[in-house]
């Protein structure tokens, strides 16, 4: 069976943040139009909207169709993909297959989230829908509760203190301070992290990724582009089991399942979902980049800093980008593509030809690993 290679035609990421003066449609339009124009306005066969909460925040169903109307794409078919905060990479995975198997030539994946229209306690309620609505959110459980329990189990298992975990955030802010795509662009000291307000003990504000508005568009195509980056492989794994039913709450089983593909492609550049610091730490260990129990030490020592053999989150990760929920994974992907293409501001990252994005949906309910390759 003939299969196409899948290339990144173009992309555009709106700097995430509190865009009070822009609607969800404005943000989506900005991301799409800039990416589309950069690609030379090709015919788009399908638009895939990735958003976790558009229906809740905007009170809008059929959102992809209304976004298309705003863009005057009157006859372009569209759909929305929602798998919580992994929606963006799930949409990329779906688009990859459409292009690979010749169903479409050009697909625009549009990740968009408009969360700051809500006050923070309402945002927390939306986030709580990532947990089981009937059995968890009903009682007030949010993803931060899961992450806090995971952190405590991990600390106990490997005899770490909270400070050891908090170093993740210090290292991310070192990187993100110079990233124009980051919403939190400043270096932080360990004291800043450790003295920030408590979210869910032991997790503090800077151990989380702050919910922000954002929009990012990546156009995948069967035709080569000047960017010279190919989406070479997608890997999706699931473990549809609640945290209380897991054999070890301090593990990411879906990420571990992608370990073989990482070994096969040997990427040296990673963008991973660190929506809570513990997720970043566990992903490093589950993917085999660090032995179990060693990630906090290695990250603190600078093993994965820009310029190293293996570089993780040169963008500053979601700690600095922020957490545009369903668009998060697309932001990580956009950052990785720019890093591979050695585009600004990532010229200091080093010379890498293969990179991977690792995105996790909910508390390890699913994960998507995407392998990108720079054309030699």
């Amino acid at each position: 069976m003939h299969v196409n290679k899948v290339y990144v035609k173009s992309l555009h990421a709106v700097t995430p943040g509190r865009h009070y003066n822009k609607s969800l449609r404005d943000l989506a339009a900005e991301a799409f139009l800039k990416a589309w124009e950069a690609a030379g306005c090709p015919n788009i066969d399908m638009i895939i909207l990735a958003s976790a909460a558009v229906d809740i925040v905007e009170e809008q169903l059929l959102s992809s169709s209304y976004v298309c109307e705003y863009l005057s794409l009157e006859n372009v078919p569209s759909l929305r993909i929602e798998v919580g905060d992994a929606s963006g990479t799930a949409a990329l995975a779906y688009a990859y297959n459409l292009v690979r198997y010749g169903v479409c030539r050009n697909v625009a994946i549009l990740g968009v989230e408009k969360i700051t229209d809500f006050i923070s306690v309402k945002v927390n309620k939306v986030l709580s829908y990532l947990c089981d609505s009937t059995y968890e959110s009903y009682y007030g459980i949010t993803p931060a509760v899961h992450a806090a329990l995971m952190t405590k189990f991990y600390m106990k298992k490997f005899n770490y203190t909270y400070e050891d975990i908090a170093w993740w955030s210090v290292k991310m802010h070192e990187r993100g301070a110079s990233n124009p795509y980051a919403s939190l662009r400043r270096k932080l000291k360990i004291e800043d992290i450790m003295n920030s307000e408590i979210v869910a003990d032991p997790i503090r504000l800077f151990d989380t990724a702050v919910p922000v508005d954002g929009a990012v568009c990546i156009i995948l195509s069967s035709e080569k582009s000047d960017l010279g980056v190919e989406l070479a492989h997608v890997e999706q794994h699931a473990y549809n089991v609640s945290i209380n039913m897991r054999p070890d709450p301090a593990r990411l089983f879906t990420v571990n399942a992608a370990r073989e593909v990482v070994q096969k492609f040997s990427p040296t550049l990673f963008e991973i979902s660190d929506k809570f610091s513990i997720f970043g730490i566990l992903i490093l260990e589950e993917l085999g980049l660090a032995e179990p129990g060693t990630a906090p030490k290695l990250i603190r020592e600078g093993t994965f800093d820009p310029g190293s053999k293996v570089v993780v989150n040169a963008s500053g990760g979601l700690k600095c980008i922020g957490y545009p929920m369903g668009a998060s994974g697309l932001y990580l992907s956009a950052m990785l593509i720019l890093e591979l293409a050695k585009a600004e501001p990532f010229s200091n990252v080093g010379d890498h030809s293969i990179g991977a994005v690792c995105d996790v949906g909910g508390t390890d309910r699913l994960s998507n690993v995407l392998i990108f390759r720079r054309e030699s």
Binding site: K122, N124, Y135, G140, A148, L149, K152, V199, N244
Partner: protein
């Protein structure tokens, strides 16, 4: 439009799990699930609903966290405490609210807990008062 969010039929449907902590038990292999399931991983669809309040004598706290950044329905109750609670027989764990804690220092991994019936939240000005099962540090004598 009246200000309420919890649909009454949904609440009514969930009363067994909110009030009596019902879990699913597979009659074929004995596995227990919370949240409940319609089918066991062993393939059996012969599932019974069991109340943990009837079936389980001992609940222990495995780990806990104090949540300060709460969602809108719980603003007046913050901070909230949640624990991973282990039930010994049948063997199942659940993440549940921990209540009646005067001093967080009293909470230690491994301590015994007991279930209590409590208000969970009030659904706006016109909605229902929602109840559920929470856990507190055990005060009763435990028969072994």
């Amino acid at each position: 439009m009246p200000d309420y969010n919890v649909p009454v039929p949904r609440y009514w449907r969930n009363i067994p799990t909110y009030y009596r902590l019902t879990v699913s038990r597979c009659r074929s292999c004995g596995r227990v699930y919370y949240p409940p399931r319609a089918r066991c991983v062993c393939g059996s669809r012969d599932i019974e609903q069991v109340s943990l309040l009837d079936a389980c004598r001992k609940f222990r706290l495995a780990e806990f966290t104090v949540l300060h950044s709460v969602s809108v329905d719980f603003e007046k109750q913050k901070p909230l405490i949640f624990g991973l609670v282990k039930c010994e027989n049948p063997e199942v764990s659940l993440v549940s609210p921990i209540t009646d804690v005067l001093n967080v220092g009293d909470l230690q991994s491994g301590i015994e807990l007991e279930p209590v019936f409590r208000v969970v939240k009030r659904d706006g000005s016109y909605g229902i008062v929602c109840y559920g099962t929470k856990f507190r540090i055990a005060t009763r004598e435990v028969k072994v």
